[in-house]
Symmetry: C2
Subunit: 347 residues, 2 copies
DNA sequence: TGTTCTACGTGCATCGTTCTATATTTCAGC
DNA sequence: GCTGAAATATAGAACGATGCACGTAGAACA
């Protein structure tokens, strides 16, 4: 009479739990959803039945009616180890909640593949975190369908979705200021051909700070795509010839490391002939052959704050929030003249 | 009478499509699933209605009855850019199918977090690809619940799940042979403290090849964990002292690059004082300051083959398959004595 | 003691598919 | 034109949760 018959031996359903705990199915559901109107005794009774039977809610069934407790995380490509920090931070932010993150890789550049977003919405995900996409129109459209937070998308004035960002403007300023403090004046920036707002912010910070310090005559932005050959050509152009630069701020470490390679092959000393500063402070910066000064943006913090905001959104917050993380500069040998190896290693 | 009333304006369901195409709901479902017993005219009629209405199947609803066309991809951590290739290959393998990959990051080391697997199974994923996990018992248990393929797990004799692997034994042999051909004899291996079968295979290949070439007196495996300080200590131990090595095979590029850093700081010339060979042939190998010889395992191919096999499995294949990809060595300056910079660059 | 209010529980319709069992159509062979 | 088999289409019952609308018990108040 208790159980609905010994039919299939397979899945433990909410019905089995209800029967075991001797309460209604709806009551179990309430406990599950931490909904209003459940007494403590009922809660503990149900919990112990769930544990005893090894019950696990069927996400698809939940998805048909309510939430799935699944959050979609869309990343552009995953080669930059910096993204691993975002993921880790995001997962940290989900710790202790019922939410699970599932990641999709977006193969297009500035937009988000419609198919990927659709597929996450089809799968009834409760909210989306999109990293690195910039198509504002598209993001607004997505935000109308699901709670949305973005990272790496400087449209901070919008009223539709939350943004979490590194202060990329400040990042470039930090790099310029540091180089100027070290006596460099002819400072160029190696940037990316893109419509990414991150890059635009970095370029803006670079230009503004050069102007502010009265160095506008040296300001020079060279843009390249990400192909190894393009990067190397750009680097050679900047590092050779009569107007070669004294110092170079690169939009990301991966590029900066290539520049170090090119400079080495050109027989240029770093930092004596040319100083180099990167961005992201990836682990490779620390290796002896690189020792690359770099701007650190805490991916972990970005991910964590994004998780927090996304959950708030799902729980009903309406007002938009825009959060900016301050970067910090990690100085290494690539940008500091006249430091001997020994004392530097002792630090 | 046709439509079920103008109730909610929201979602286009299979019912709306059926009404529009003037056929039964079941017929539409059959078209969707490419099931047997659908005439060409019916198929095209239904397809055009779907396109016209912009119908998208509701994955949660599908999950309640049949498949979700979602595949779970579990990765260990994502810092090694090599994983990006696996993902890309896997997605390539899904191109043109209805399947979508969703990725979960496993934070534990050799095992798979139970929570992650459970959550993918709760979400009714049709199959799982697990990369880098080694707990055979656990994998067998998982395979009993869902179609399973693994990458980076050398339990090729099992009869329960498919494996796709780099030939890690051969990878180490390639490295040793190359170094011996170049005149090196005292060749050590820098390995990892782990129970990963990948690493065990590489160690076996190294040891066997050293023995085969009569160099067993030089064979020496030093194991370290992944902490930067541990790696550097291990590198120093191998590179200094009376029994310092002439050549070093490192289990992965990231470690090899750190060794290059340590060697540089010790004032050792590469490759004249010590030759270094890495594994994975990540993009960093190519940079001038590294120019690291490395064993290339095609992550793309691994991912592609895994996707193919997983889908076959889902479609009902019972027999187990174990696929091995042959690695190839990419030679750069770090392991070849007496090559001038100029001719090498000209290659 | 009767009335109102609140907190807690419950029954049942519902979500959008799949799939079984059954009905209908088509057509070759006579 | 009839028969039966093969091919194609259909109705409707699941699947496992959620959450509305409602019922009930007991406390609070007069």
């Amino acid at each position: 009479m208790k159980s609905s018959g010994g039919g299939r031996p397979n899945r433990i359903t909410i019905r089995d739990v209800a029967a075991d705990a001797d309460v209604s199915v709806a009551a179990v559901s309430k406990v599950l959803r931490e909904a209003y109107g459940v007494s403590a005794s009922m809660r503990s009774k149900v919990h112990s039945s769930m544990a005893k039977l090894g019950y696990r809610p069927h996400t698809a069934a939940r998805g048909m009616r309510g939430q799935t407790f699944t959050l979609g995380l869309i990343l552009p490509d995953i080669r930059n180890p910096f993204f691993a920090d975002i993921i880790a931070g995001f997962q940290d932010g989900l710790e202790g909640t019922q939410y699970q993150a599932l990641i999709g890789i977006n193969r297009s550049t500035s937009m988000v593949e419609e198919g990927l977003v659709d597929s996450m919405i089809d799968r009834q995900m409760d909210g989306l975190l999109i990293v690195g996409a910039n198509d504002h129109e598209q993001l607004i459209a997505i935000a109308q369908r699901k709670p949305l937070v973005t990272i790496g998308n400087h449209h901070a004035s919008n009223e539709v979705y939350d943004t979490v960002n590194n202060d990329d403007d400040e990042a470039a300023r930090l790099a310029v200021r540091h180089l100027v403090d070290g006596g460099y004046r002819n400072i160029a920036m190696l940037s990316l051909i893109t419509d990414s707002t991150i890059i635009k912010e970095r370029e803006r910070g670079y230009t503004d700070e050069m102007n502010r310090l009265g160095l506008s005559r040296f300001a020079r932005i060279v843009r390249s795509d990400q192909l190894q050959s393009s990067v190397q050509n750009a680097a050679r152009a900047i590092l050779t010839g009569p107007d070669r630069t004294e110092a170079l701020f690169c939009w990301t470490d991966f590029i900066a490391l290539q520049v170090i390679g090119v400079a080495t092959e050109l027989g240029l000393g770093i930092p004596d002939d040319v100083a180099i500063v990167g961005h992201d402070n990836t682990m490779y910066c620390d290796f002896g052959q690189n020792s690359l000064t770099s701007v650190d943006q805490s991916g972990r913090l970005l991910g964590l704050e994004a998780a927090r905001r996304l959950i708030e959104r799902i729980k009903g917050r309406q007002a938009t929030e825009h959060y900016l993380v301050s970067p910090r500069l990690v100085v290494r040998r690539s940008s500091v003249r006249n430091i001997l190896t020994e004392p530097a290693a002792a630090l």
